[in-house]
Subunit: 279 residues, 2 copies
């Protein structure tokens, strides 16, 4: 362990599966302590007694060396594996049994303790929905394959680099939603933005993305440095035009500047009243 | 509420942000009770007192109608909002304060109670890493732009429809990993699979995907029904060839058949010893 990491508080996020659930809640909790530096270790697939013992040894050895208990967040369903980690000299937060035990009381039934069950979804119709949604997003990226728009749940529109593609991919992967996207550009003759005729028949499916011109300038400049395309003037012009278009056409829109992809997507689905297809 | 949903136990997953964390742990917990049918309601962005009151009213009205308490899973950081939901006549599981309170004791500091902080990452270098990784996956999908392979963290190989593209996109979105993919096909002359010369210089980055022939047949048949490409015979031949290639060339590989995208990706990263770039 490098010496600058010794000052950080060690956190082990231990899972019998992918580690996605434990790190999702673990990171939310740690973000609440912004004055403390954490060294995060995500440890997936602890699904055997041997692996559990080796993690317990690491935790004990950390305590013996530093005299400081590591924080442990864990989602371990197998009681034997769970109990091995619990005997470590560490500060344990059990994300599963903390709630499973009272849930068993409330639901008047025992839990099934099946390792990794939550994510084994291959036989689940939602798995196919998800793959189809990914293919749809790829096929309908950047204004291509508009013949498929009948099947779209939503069509994102916006200027180049305003976040359409990542948003569509995330909608597909996480929510199984069929999301297309179409780039808006100025009309060659009028130099103004107008809604393309082809989109009019899908107007109820349209959702606009906007972005602060300064942020757009930064993003475009990474792609094509010092181009007209990336200039702050051009970005201001396009954002102004596109927001005017959304307002005139009564198309709902979101300024994505301050948000992560997760936030952009969940806000859009909420505003557009689109149900997620994967629960 | 339709009558067939009345028999299901109502579950409300309530968040002040996207709802991703609360539904991730919530779904893991519910999966442990496979004999009970749940009606899941994911409710994001409960970030005001007014919204909290309206959810409390819904929960109380559900109890008054059915005499059964809804299950509530929640990640609500604002104490005022949190307390409003807690007064509802429901069975409350607080995913945040259950751990925040003891964490404050252990860390000898108060938490900052900042709503939605966990996901507001625009000013974070990880945000740009993520967008770059998505662009990389799109640019390097299906064997194109091999000139970019120097920048790849990993190059997935496999037969058509074995799950390369969704896996690369998920690696980019969730982990910020630069993942390319390259489709393997039979040599036109020998009719056998061989490792393309261009991939030899990146051999240390290669990771193979395999899949059960029956599953591949099913997936391909959805795409091109009754084609030679989709026939069980062809799928058996290709899978056999590709696995022989992986073994002869000592390329690590994974049979993806029984796994979700999350599992495939986390297993690959673990086997290939690639660190996630987003924590």
């Amino acid at each position: 362990m490098p010496s600058d990491e010794q000052k950080k508080r060690q956190v082990f996020m231990i899972s019998d599966g992918t580690g996605i659930t434990v790190s999702s809640l673990g990171n939310s909790l740690l973000t609440q302590f912004e004055n403390i530096e954490f060294q995060k270790n995500i440890i997936p697939y602890i699904d055997s007694v041997d692996k559990a013992i080796s993690i317990r040894d690491i935790l004990n050895s950390h305590y013996n060396t530093t005299k400081e208990k590591a924080l442990v967040f864990m989602t371990l369903l197998n009681p034997e594996i769970n109990n091995i980690i619990k005997t470590a000299n560490a500060c344990i937060f059990d994300f599963m049994y903390t709630f499973l035990d009272p849930l068993e009381v409330e639901l008047k039934t025992k839990s099934s303790d099946t390792i990794g069950k939550a994510h084994t979804v291959v036989d689940n119709p939602m798995y196919e929905q998800r793959i189809k949604a990914i293919n749809f997003a790829l096929n309908c990226d950047d204004g291509v394959q508009m013949s498929l728009y009948d099947a779209a749940d939503i069509i994102l529109i916006g200027v180049s680099r305003s976040g359409k593609t990542p948003s569509c991919l995330y909608m597909a992967l996480q929510f199984g939603v069929f999301a297309a996207n179409y780039p808006l550009t100025a009309d060659d003759e009028t130099h103004h933005f107008a809604l393309p005729e082809i989109l009019r028949s899908y107007k109820h499916k349209l959702f606009g993305l906007s972005i602060d011109p300064e942020r757009l300038h930064h993003i475009r400049n990474e792609r094509r440095p010092n181009s007209t395309y990336a200039s702050l003037q051009q970005c201001r012009l396009e954002v102004n035009e596109v927001e005017t278009l959304y307002k005139n056409e009564h198309i709902p829109f979101l300024n994505s500047t301050r948000y992560s992809i997760e936030e952009i997507v969940t806000k859009i689905l909420s505003m557009a009243k689109i149900q997620r297809k994967i629960l």
